[in-house]
Symmetry: C2
Subunit: 367 residues, 2 copies
């Protein structure tokens, strides 16, 4: 894996980073959240039954898993194969990733004493394999590599709830009943996340995405008061590195302006908010990323193509759009549909202008 | 149960219906979605281990379960003890309500043939016990009774998915891949829902709420095209009855204007959208209902009171607000906190004007 595989698409080179900065592009760049994952047969083959955290610790394997979707789909960006809990696990939190369930802690962090036992994440000591994977990738990739981390609120949710949650009851109780401890936890996590992202950029990541996957469970007031400061601390702390910062969450329609204001060049938008509205909310000078419903992709290419054309029409003529799903690729997704969507987006936006939208035609338009 | 229990609060009489119509009120009316439920010890005692559908079929029991929260909380409206699947089950769909999971179908409805086997709901033939419960209640209640039904999209989701779902993959596939069958299903459900709500109003319900609990999983485009027409058919079909129509969903920030336009006097708003924004979206002449985060109620009275004061401040001075949670009462909720919140809302809004909000003071303000 020392020279770039011939199959890696070169056409997208540069377009993704330009779109993140709101600059005109030859065609709209595309990548998919969770593009490396169980939807790919080559991923399932290579991962086998080993735990995801074990796979992340093996740089050659992690690099290969990162490359797989770039080869197959011809996407315009790669995203590091890793997991948002890596900084937590590496700094000593006993977290298990249970297949089909997610990160689980035997002893949730719900008290000041528990928070004070947490250690900060020191990437080169505790998880040198991440930077090693990134370094190995930069020589093999012909498209930019996106580094990523979970935002402090989302990471805190796992720690406090002890696993995936529907109501987020314990983290909301901590926020409201012991804000001092909450802010201590959020700041510690912000520093760990910042260290992780700086480490990835130092090793060669050309952009970063901060996943605040669960921010949308908070009211706007609670988000602004309790979650935003720590995310701002992370994004601000990356400002000197000069890489585009993407800020993403699900169900965050009411938060988009705040998420942009936290220091993001790009705001990721789920499928609920039409992109023209999202643009109005994030304001001038901030790009948008999204926002095809990943569940509609399961319905097959004609449905997904019609939705893709609608989305492209919503941002017609404007630069500053990175095409993506509104959330991660679902495991049951047909990779053939995703590949056809990449082709469709590239074809429809070729020449930097949109072809007239034709939502009723099922196939990809001509170049 | 032939005369009103002495404990039933009389003070709210009339206020709820006036607020639904946007008229000035002496104080802001309050009720809670799922106020009759497992959070109440008297409910758990009375329900025992009998299935919820069995309890609904017993008018005396269902009436008593409806009355319990009115007695305990002094809320300004009662909501019928029933379930959104009643019209489906009564018209022949084999649905089980599995405790802790929700409605489950052994054979999901995913084909045209399956849709064509569904029968319309005929309330007086298939579920006369509902009207009987309502009639029994009207003589016992000193506050208005709200009738309710699930909206066609939400009911269809259960039928098509075969149970609660995270991705709503099958219903979205049906919508996109076989819109003809989808609209046939949605129209059949609209007619059943309309029949159910007309039956409840004829028996004495003074207002209705249409629960489109899962509408928020759809993009605005899909909601407008595929879900809204059937909900409009229901709400329009109630227009001649002269009762306020409340239209509610979760995660519906982008849909509020459409939900108002479907023919609602009141739009229910979850906790994600600040009520001043919600008001701007639903437009003049439509009231808003909500929107305290039910999970914050679990954090205890001081936290819930601070949030309640913030919400009241967001609608300061304006009529057309019914205080409620942003979703149903969670089973772990302390009824004492809800009772104190009713008192707080009444106290803070007494005289038709808001007291100065004091978010840091934990107790209920003086009258």
């Amino acid at each position: 894996m020392s020279s770039p595989p011939a199959e890696v698409a070169t056409v997208g080179r540069g377009g993704f980073l330009r779109a993140c900065r709101g600059l005109p592009v030859e065609r709209t760049p595309v990548w998919f959240m969770r593009q490396a994952g169980r939807s790919l047969p080559e991923y399932r083959r290579l991962r086998g039954t080993e735990s995801i955290l074990e796979s992340i610790r093996r740089p050659e394997l992690a690099a290969e898993l990162t490359l797989q979707p770039v080869r197959r789909y011809g996407v315009d960006a790669a995203i590091l194969f890793s997991d948002i809990v890596v900084p937590l696990v590496a700094s000593g939190s006993p977290i298990d990733i249970v297949p089909g369930r997610g990160p689980v802690l035997a002893e949730p962090v719900r008290t000041r004493a528990a928070v004070q036992k947490l250690r900060p994440f020191v990437p080169d000591e505790q998880a040198p394999y991440v930077a090693e994977t990134v370094r190995g990738l930069t020589s093999q990739l012909d498209v930019p590599l996106i580094g990523f981390a979970g935002a402090p609120f989302t990471l805190a949710s796992y720690l406090v709830e002890g696993g995936p949650s529907r109501s987020f009851e314990h983290v909301k109780a901590l926020i409201h009943n012991d804000p001092t401890t909450w802010f201590e936890l959020a700041e510690l996590l912000a520093d760990s996340v910042l260290a992780s992202l700086r480490d990835q950029v130092a090793a060669g990541a050309a952009a970063v995405q901060l996943f605040d996957s669960w921010a949308g469970v908070l009211s706007r007031h609670d988000y602004e008061r309790y979650a935003l400061p720590a995310s701002t601390r992370v994004l601000d702390g990356l400002g000197d590195l000069g890489v585009p910062r993407i800020h993403f969450g699900v169900g965050t329609g009411e938060l988009l302006d705040l998420m942009a204001g936290a220091g993001a060049e790009v705001v990721g938008v789920d499928w609920r908010v039409p992109l023209d509205r999202a643009r109005a909310r994030v304001g001038t000078g901030v790009a948008v990323q999204g926002n095809l419903d990943p569940t509609v992709v399961l319905a097959g290419f004609p449905a997904a193509a019609a939705e893709t054309r609608r989305i492209l029409a919503e941002v017609a003529g404007g630069p500053g759009h990175v095409f993506n799903l509104g959330h991660g690729v679902l495991p049951e997704t047909d990779p053939g549909v995703l590949a056809a969507l990449v082709e469709l987006v590239h074809a429809e936006t070729a020449g930097g202008a949109l072809a007239a939208p034709a939502p009723s035609a099922p196939g990809p338009g001509a170049l």
